[in-house]
Symmetry: C2
């Protein structure tokens, strides 16, 4: 083997068009920056809290599952689509919050994936060719945006108003502009993170979802919709009221994919997500490609989650975990307020779920990875995700995503203090 | 949601070129045939043996890992490339059998995947565009061949002699033919299953591997090589002697990917495989795409395997599991001999590792899924994998793969009896 640098320059390998596009993810650069900075408090990673991971539950569940020597199938291969009982549990769970849907039909469209990320990847792989357009929320999930870029797809942001809400008339104008450029046929899907979004922590209300559906359907664009509900279960005290595209009548005639994860709010190391697809042909295509990716997600992990759902322990653990994240959110939020961030002209809303604060700096402040502000934060021992990474196009330069997922309350308060100290030097 | 058949015809979704190519895997058809046949004994599935799954080990390992409340990171996200300690263990393990390699360098090239299947998929995604050629062994792993077909790639088989060994002069002629057709540049990789192959149960000896390297390098074709070593650890009494491409001098100047699995011989439900890539640029491209697939395989499962390797339990469990598969192989092999299959003109070799018998029927017998022979076997309550699925091109019609992975010894003997009963009716 050759040393890394030499071979990176001289590789004799001829890459495919996908290989040529594959670029290092931003997260790798953030991690490298973190590693190079001693005593850093990172508000960048979207990881979860080690202190509240359900260690005891997993130990007891594993014991219960494996304690019966006659039943070893948990360690055997499962199926490509996923464990039927787990899919049934998930379908029944959804049918309870999306009234009017039939659990048996939901189960038919449900498939288990390696985190919800794989469901998103499969959806894009089978829907869109290089040069095609995906409509996205603004801001949007930056790992999804980088994946689009890797696949050669173009993200086009749906316009929002000053409050961050979907701006329906502007969306209509955007769609008409694409149509008059002859690009309507290139729009292959619409994607949004609808509950406690990564990064904005906002939820879309039903009126916003209806507005998107209305603008599309009135133009005959009954394109596939992908609703990313990764954070729906991570509310603090009250489940979000808005229905998903699965049961909103305005979306009835669209092919729909609803993606979510069982492990983001629970135990990220188990990595089990799912997709629920209402279009049989689209579902089949994704399953065929999943058969080639890995022909099924780890059966053991699915069985642990199935056990958690059937015993009720999943809800028990979430009831324990949710208030812990609310306390962590408060610790960071209150430190920022207390240290004087609002007086420096920064604005944000304390969220009612999720893992993020989404800060808007004064319009003239640039917060990108190469900015003086970012370097000053690193020097002060605090790291964040630059907001500019979270825009499909026309990136705003003055936003920041802070995650309170990883650090404890005391560290969050200290990180907030460090952050505001830097902010005051840039006023 | 619409009923499956109607929507499959009327889906409003416009699929990408990959989506258009995505086809139902053959395994789905085999599973459907199995489900429709009561009392079937299936020799088709490549599953493993429930009776020898390491249930006790996984229970004890989980208890040990999770029993320390201060150490919960097993349930947290891991990294995209995989746990460093696990990668180190695997690198040291390989360095012990491939003498002359440096474990630290091996670790750098090593990445953890969702079974070895994902490593194969990533390799093909970043190397080859639709229409490109992949050289494959003959016969070859049918899931890999179907994946190539899904990606729009052309499998071209390397010729073998009457004993099934690589036929070097014929390979040279094949390569020259491709060159004279102007297709040399389309050959993007060479792939083979080199230890107790699925389906043939053969291992390639070093002379065969050297012959492939020689035929390629003498024509200036220093193309990426993918050696699939999924069954290398599943020998019955003696580790196979042949070195891999990683240390064979003839392959020194080729970019190399060695793929293997920790869980196929151990606990398939944990689904942890790995790739080891000697070319830094190729490795990076695969990792970038893996970042988009799932940004890392389940950390918990990696930790279980890491625990198994560091404690020595992995080898302890394999020592228990290997003779169980040899007994199962013998049960099926001896039933076939005893019932008179050789006298009916069928030939095969009892393997010294792996999960398969590869039977050659008289040349005039067709064994495909739609053949009279296959239907008669189903009627008699026994199912197999038709050999014709296992050829990249010019499929031979008279081969059969029998798996002894799943059934117990008594069922294997009965399945063998049923099979030979049908054979005798087709003599």
């Amino acid at each position: 083997m050759k040393p890394a640098d030499a071979s990176a320059q001289k590789s004799p390998v001829a890459f495919s068009s996908l290989g040529q596009r594959a670029q290092p993810p931003t997260i790798a650069k953030l991690m490298a920056m973190a590693l190079e900075t001693p005593n850093l408090l990172s508000l960048a990673a979207g990881f979860t809290d080690n202190a509240t991971l359900p260690v005891d539950f997993v130990r007891v569940a594993t014991e219960a599952m494996l304690g019966n020597p006659g039943d070893r199938e948990f360690l055997q291969y499962g199926t490509n689509q996923g464990r039927p009982r787990l899919r049934q549990q998930l379908a029944e769970r959804l049918a309870k919050i999306e009234l009017g849907l039939d659990a048996t039909e939901l189960q038919r469209g449900l498939f288990i994936t390696n985190g919800s990320q794989q469901a998103l990847y499969l959806a894009m792989q089978v829907l869109a060719d290089p040069g095609d357009i995906i409509l996205v929320d603004r801001p949007s999930y930056f790992v999804f945006l980088e994946m689009l870029s890797g696949l050669g797809l173009r993200a086009v942001s749906m316009p929002v108003d000053a409050e961050g809400k979907i701006d329906a008339p502007a969306l209509g104008t955007l769609l008409d502009g694409l149509a008059s450029n002859g690009e309507a046929q290139r729009i292959k899907a619409v994607y949004f993170v609808s509950y406690f979004s990564n990064p904005s922590a906002r939820s879309l209300d039903e009126a916003e979802k209806n507005a998107i559906a209305g603008m599309l359907s009135s133009r005959g664009l009954l394109i596939p919709v992908v609703e990313d509900a990764a954070y729906r279960e991570l509310y603090y005290s009250e489940a979000p009221a808005a229905r998903s595209v699965l049961s909103l009548p305005t979306w009835r005639d669209f092919p729909k994919l609803y993606t979510a994860t069982l492990t983001k709010p629970f135990a990220t190391g188990l990595k089990i997500g799912y997709g629920l697809c209402t279009d049989e042909a689209w579902l089949k295509k994704m399953l065929h490609v999943k058969g080639h990716h890995d022909f099924g997600s780890a059966n053991f992990n699915q069985a642990i989650l199935e056990h958690a759902l059937t015993t009720g322990n999943y809800d028990g653990e979430l009831a324990r975990i949710r208030p812990a994240y609310e306390r962590k959110m408060r610790a960071l939020h209150e430190a920022l307020v207390h240290e004087g961030l609002p007086a420096a002209g920064w604005t944000w809303a304390a969220p009612s779920g999720g893992l993020y604060l989404w800060l808007e700096a004064p319009a003239t402040l640039e917060t990108g990875l190469d900015s003086a502000f970012c370097r000053a934060c690193l020097d002060a021992g605090v790291l964040y995700v630059p907001g500019e990474l979270c825009f499909g196009d026309q990136p705003a330069k003055n936003f920041i995503r802070l995650s309170f997922g990883v650090l404890g309350e005391r560290d969050l308060a200290e990180a907030g203090r460090r952050f505001v100290t830097v902010v005051k030097r840039f006023v």
